[in-house]
């Protein structure tokens, strides 16, 4: 019985909790990608850099607040800087729309042209970020790091295995719940949200109903800015901030959006967790788990790890390819909000 409990704790500690928190970060990222796709009808490859930009601004203001000795006590100072990061990210989104995307939209360019354009935007933002904050790894989480340490848990329960709960994980999960609830409420219940769904559903008919396309596009960028900045900051808070990581994140984020059905907000969220859990479950070494659950005679000799963690991104890429081959519309038949 104790062995069984220990094995459960191992899973919780190394798979479930990290999976939920990484999944939440991907879900928020994928939701942003899906919004752009559903309204503006193109794949925005600059999304990873937009997240990175938001995180960067948040870090800069975190440093500023730290230098002024302003903090939130046990909570990370970054939470205080986050609203400023959000506003900056929204401005970035709107500027890139006004100066770049809008032109191609008015030209009625095909989606693939806009996707290529977004790669250009990605490189520009990427360069700006490197000029401002450099390429090094930055850790900016302060406050109380753990809500529960592995050791505390062991003492508390008397089990062999510890269960650690990082504050960044709990913050990630809480903010995600809050943001997702708000986003879905907005889309389903408010007039503006409904007009966005209508626009995404049938653009011509939306125009005939008097829905202003420029306003819909503006609100889309505001939402994308909020989602991207929060996703980027939470990821940086949980792991660490490094510009190159956000470039790499584009793959699992697009995989999440496509697996769930690109254009479907609910699909993006589900896709985020599917990708996160797949990555973690395929690259986790299960030896410890089996040691507890199997009789000693059957104890595995190797690590029982399907793939090395270096192949993390290969997992999301494989899932992406499989989904595109078998069910290109994704789990929830995406296309519209």
């Amino acid at each position: 019985m104790i062995d069984f409990l220990n094995s459960i704790i191992v899973l919780l500690n190394f798979i479930i909790i990290p999976g939920i928190s990484y999944g939440s970060q991907l879900a928020l990222g994928a939701l942003g990608v899906t919004f752009v796709y559903a309204i503006l009808r193109f794949a925005n490859f600059a999304h990873g850099e937009i997240m990175s930009f938001g995180a960067m601004i948040t870090i800069l203001f975190t440093w500023f607040f730290q230098s002024q000795n302003i903090g939130l006590g046990i909570l990370p100072t970054a939470l205080l800087a986050l609203p400023i990061g959000i506003i900056a990210t929204i401005i970035l989104c709107i500027i890139s729309d006004k100066f770049v995307f809008q032109y191609y939209r008015y030209q009625k360019s095909v989606p693939v042209v806009l996707a290529m354009v977004s790669i250009g935007v990605m490189f520009v933002i990427n360069a700006i970020i490197r000029i401002i904050i450099g390429t090094e790894t930055i850790k900016f989480s302060d406050g109380q790091k753990f809500i529960m340490k592995a050791k505390q848990f062991k003492v508390m329960t008397g089990l062999n295995e510890g269960l650690a709960l990082k504050s960044s994980q709990v913050i990630t999960i809480l903010i995600t719940i809050l943001l997702l609830t708000f986003t879905f409420w907005f889309l389903q219940k408010t007039k503006t949200g409904k007009s966005m769904r209508a626009f995404s559903d049938n653009e011509d008919l939306a125009l005939l109903s008097g829905i202003n396309p420029d306003r819909v596009v503006f609100i889309t960028w505001v939402i994308v800015g909020v989602l991207a900045c929060v996703a980027g900051t939470l990821y940086g808070l949980d792991k660490s901030y490094k510009p190159i990581i956000y470039l790499n994140l584009v793959l699992p984020i697009f995989a999440s959006a496509i697996v769930g059905g690109i254009g479907s907000p609910f699909g993006a969220v589900v896709g985020g967790y599917v990708i996160a859990f797949s990555e973690i479950m395929v690259t986790y070494a299960y030896k410890k788990f089996f040691v507890y659950i199997l009789p000693s005679s059957l104890e595995p000799s190797g690590l029982v790890q399907l793939l090395s963690t270096d192949y993390k991104f290969a997992v999301s890429f494989s899932i992406l390819v499989i989904v595109l081959l078998i069910r290109p519309s994704g789990i929830f038949k995406g296309r519209v909000l």
Binding site: K191, K194, R197, A198, L205, A206, L208, S209, G210, L337
Partner: protein
């Protein structure tokens, strides 16, 4: 009295004029039907009135006001409404949400208008929380019709409202159109089912090859031997 007049309309797509020098008029409280063979430019004429394509020459007037250069959205605001032939509902949204979107520009309480639409189409009340994409063809047309009525239009334009529905549903839709006229709305519609449409029409226009060929009261056109021969099937 509100009326919509197209004077000497010439318009088309990509530099090719499909309608040439067409005159159309619809007044409040009357049903006007545009009939004619395929490719005569019936739908094009209607889209030109709404401003969905730009005019090569001619003008559109609404209640003695020149609106030729106005965007379609702004004409909707004035009191025009349009039901396209296809893709005329938000498939992913519920029936009620479709109606709400129809009333998007309204600042006042739209619940009364929604109820009016439900009174006109009782089936929609039953299906109010179902998504419009799951409805049958006839029910979808009713949603499309109801969505257009949400702005309380003075002039309603219908592009083939009975395309692809059964004869029973067609009769049903026509009787609804008559009911809408009773509320004082002017209705301009393009119809393939010319015989039945002219049967309920106050006036009708016959378009052939993008030109006005004939006009008159519904009855006149129905009884005209030439019109009968050319496309009412004898």
């Amino acid at each position: 009295m509100n009326n919509l007049i197209g004077k000497n309309l010439t318009a088309g797509y990509g530099g090719v004029d499909i309608i040439k020098d067409i005159n159309l008029e619809v007044n409040e409280g009357e049903i006007v039907v545009i009939v004619g063979p395929n490719g005569a430019g019936k739908s094009t004429a209607m889209k030109a009135l709404l401003g969905m394509l730009s005019l090569t020459s001619g003008s559109v007037e609404y209640s003695n006001k020149e609106i030729s250069s106005m965007l379609p959205q702004n004409r909707i605001n004035l009191g025009l409404a349009f039901v396209p032939q296809t893709n005329n509902v938000f498939t992913g949204m519920t029936v009620e949400e479709n109606l709400e979107m129809g009333g998007f520009l309204r600042e006042d309480d739209i619940i009364h208008t929604i109820n009016d639409v439900y009174d006109l189409f009782p089936i929609l009340k039953e299906k109010r929380n179902q998504s419009a994409g799951e409805l049958s063809g006839g029910q979808r047309q009713q949603v499309a019709f109801g969505r257009a009525l949400m702005t309380k239009p003075k002039i309603l334009m219908l592009d083939e409202p009975t395309a692809g529905v059964s004869p029973i549903v067609m009769d049903e839709l026509f009787s609804r159109i008559i009911e809408v006229r009773k509320t004082g709305v002017g209705i301009l519609m393009v119809e393939q089912n010319a015989k039945q449409a002219l049967g309920i029409a106050d006036r009708g226009y016959v378009l052939v090859n993008g030109k006005n060929s004939r006009e008159g009261s519904g009855e006149e056109l129905l009884n005209n031997p030439e019109v009968r021969k050319s496309f009412l099937g004898g």
